[in-house]
Symmetry: C2
Subunit: 406 residues, 2 copies
């Protein structure tokens, strides 16, 4: 597997682009994007489990039943959730997109991200379509424009692509995403669109995407916070010419491993770019009794406000880590637990067998001053491991979220 340029346009036969259509007041910021496959696709999708589902999610839940979506039409600025005429506008957006592309309605998914409760300017969306169509490109530029168009409070665009060989054929996967877990739940949170030229059965693609999501996007930050708009969509157009994957054979596993690497990369970028974040926090729980317990323990640590605030303060406060492990719901003997902080600046054990040990506070401070901080908890209760990612809790998080609507 190797990393390549081109984002969602790296796989054969995908074009993309973004424009400013007028949903956002700031004309310098794109707010409308298309991602389109030249050829028919098999598709897979996962959506928010929030009981409050935004209108585009409700429409997509209907559309994805076809398992053959080949275009995504998405706006930022307005979440089109809990807003006047939200459902009508989501249908209108899908139908207008399908008509412009000459596709069936069951082939076009929609997405929205931004403020909840405000009406989507569907006229601006419709007026933007002909302009947007002209901008679509099969190049890195197309992917870049789409990646920028879906950003909200994101500071950096999230885009990557990988290449693998399947029985002598070159296969590529590309992805773009925005937002992150509970870090931006009111913004429409996480949107992620993945393209591939792999040929694969739709049911297997759905299984693969679900498994990979559980080990990547579902392992970034915080306490089950899912927004009203969370969406993960993948389209596979088969143009790589590989033998179609119809069973969990060697090609399936190579493809799955590459998809996992791509999704972990996007997930880590989302955690690192959480609102106001100064640090990416990686929590490795090792030697747990089961993988599920390892994941619960790890998620509890990256979700702990007190641990997040301590990392912001470069404070090696292992008591908070142990406390967060303790309230995760997993039963364990804390008199066995070791805790280590690591980063590019070094590594230090701060708690051994559930008890604090003397450590070099200066070194600890340097370790916690790095951009990525790794917290490792060794449970000594088994052989299972899980890694979750989060970010620190900062003044800027409070500032950004203290008055988001204005």
């Amino acid at each position: 597997m190797k990393w390549v340029e081109g984002g969602i346009c790296a796989p054969l036969g995908f074009k993309a682009g973004g424009i400013h259509c007028g949903i956002r007041p700031n004309k310098a910021k794109n707010d409308l994007a298309f991602i389109v496959s030249d050829a028919p696709c098999t598709s897979a999708a996962l959506f928010t489990k929030n009981a409050v589902k935004a209108a585009p999610v409700l429409v997509n839940l209907e559309t994805v039943k076809s398992r053959s979506c080949r275009a995504v039409f998405v706006n930022s600025g307005i979440a089109n959730a809990c807003a006047p005429d939200d459902l009508e506008n989501a249908y209108a957006m899908r139908d207008a997109g399908a008509e412009a592309l000459g596709f069936r309605k069951e082939e076009v998914l929609v997405g929205s991200t931004g403020i909840i409760g405000q009406r989507l300017n569907i006229d601006a969306v419709k007026a933007g379509i002909p302009v947007l169509l002209k901008r679509l490109e099969h190049s890195a530029k197309g992917s870049d424009e789409a990646a920028h168009a879906i950003m909200t409070t994101d500071k950096k665009k999230k885009e990557c692509a990988v290449e693998i060989e399947l029985n002598g054929k070159t296969v590529r996967i590309g992805g773009i995403s925005k937002g992150s877990g509970m870090i931006h739940p009111n913004m429409g949170t996480m949107l992620c669109y993945i393209t591939t030229d792999c040929s694969i059965d739709a049911d297997l693609l759905q299984q693969m995407l679900r498994d990979v999501c559980n080990h990547s996007f579902n392992r970034i930050s915080i306490d089950g916070d899912t927004s009203t708009n969370d969406s993960l969509i993948m389209m596979a157009n088969g143009l790589a010419g590989n033998e179609t994957i119809t069973s969990k054979n060697a090609s399936y596993h190579i493809m799955k491993e590459a998809l996992l690497a791509l999704c972990i990369d996007l997930a880590r970028r989302m955690a690192a770019d959480g609102e106001g974040a100064k640090h990416l926090i990686t929590c490795e729980v090792i030697n747990a009794a089961t993988e599920e317990e390892a994941e619960r323990l790890s998620k509890s640590v990256v979700s702990s406000s007190l641990t997040k605030a301590a990392v912001f303060g470069n404070d090696a406060n292992w008591g908070r880590v142990l406390c967060a492990l303790g309230y995760s719901g997993v039963q364990f003997d804390y008199r066995k637990v070791d805790i280590r902080f690591s980063s590019a600046a070094g590594s230090i054990t701060v708690c051994r067998r559930g008890t604090g040990v003397d450590f070099d506070e200066e070194l600890a401070k340097r370790i916690l001053s790095e951009k990525e901080v790794i917290i490792q908890a060794d449970m000594k209760s088994g052989e299972q491991t899980a890694v979750c990612w989060g970010c620190d809790l900062t003044y800027d998080y409070v500032r950004i979220n203290g008055d988001y609507r204005t």
Copy 2:
């Protein structure tokens, strides 16, 4: 029922006091307290569900089996959790307290609150005992000193007392507490000590305390965060001379209602005094299908970092409230939900049937500028109600917790 002065010394036959024994560097801050009943007691207790239990909790779990505890011996400054010799020191503290009071070991509970991982200075505790014994008083002053001695980052002492009549006898209940839910989990969080001169069977007292706790302390803030030291202890010495409560009769219910009022009062004070808090947030969920669902919905709102940050910014961001209801795990039709913000400055509906409505932003800002802000969600799915309490997320929370150990 009426509110009275005197705190934990309001009931007959309880004395209390606090001193500085030297655990804390700041000599102006008391760090050691006794609460003692003149007569034998029935007792009830609830402790943290965290898998990491502090040493005093482990010792108390053994001691409370007697159901006849009549004294509490508690320090602040050091949590005596995950620290060298923590268990030995907790036993030593209990035994020294019992010896000094002339009580059996099974009659004395211990408590510690403060920094995790550091050794308790047991010599300072022992040396403080004779000084502390001389200070014990059956007066409001004794209660006040004890209430101050258990404070950590609390800005205000939490103390109250109520009086009821049971079959012509005057019965009193008093309580002191410190810290709050997830707001201070690393400090040893919540300690609450309740005294009463009511005569009541120990099993019934335990049931009553558990029920009341579920409707008061378990309804303040945040996401199951329980610390290593959370403790709620109640002692009943029977000196009021009422007919002993041995069944769930009228007296039981009068007593329970008074205890609930007292515990809600303490719980609200803890939420309002959360680290860095500028607002007390009260979330009322009404017309839910079940009380359990109402509670889950309400807790999800007061635990939401985004809702908390919005209240800090005086921002009527109902989208975050709806989103938090949505990820609570409760299934409901959000197209029925109304959301209202209220305070001493007025009341305003901001979302009707799951959709934003136009509202007076100036009035909303005034409502959210009050110290106590009430968020009401009308689920229109049944007849059950629950109220939970929390506080806003502020710059000061991040500052306080960014570098707590130094």
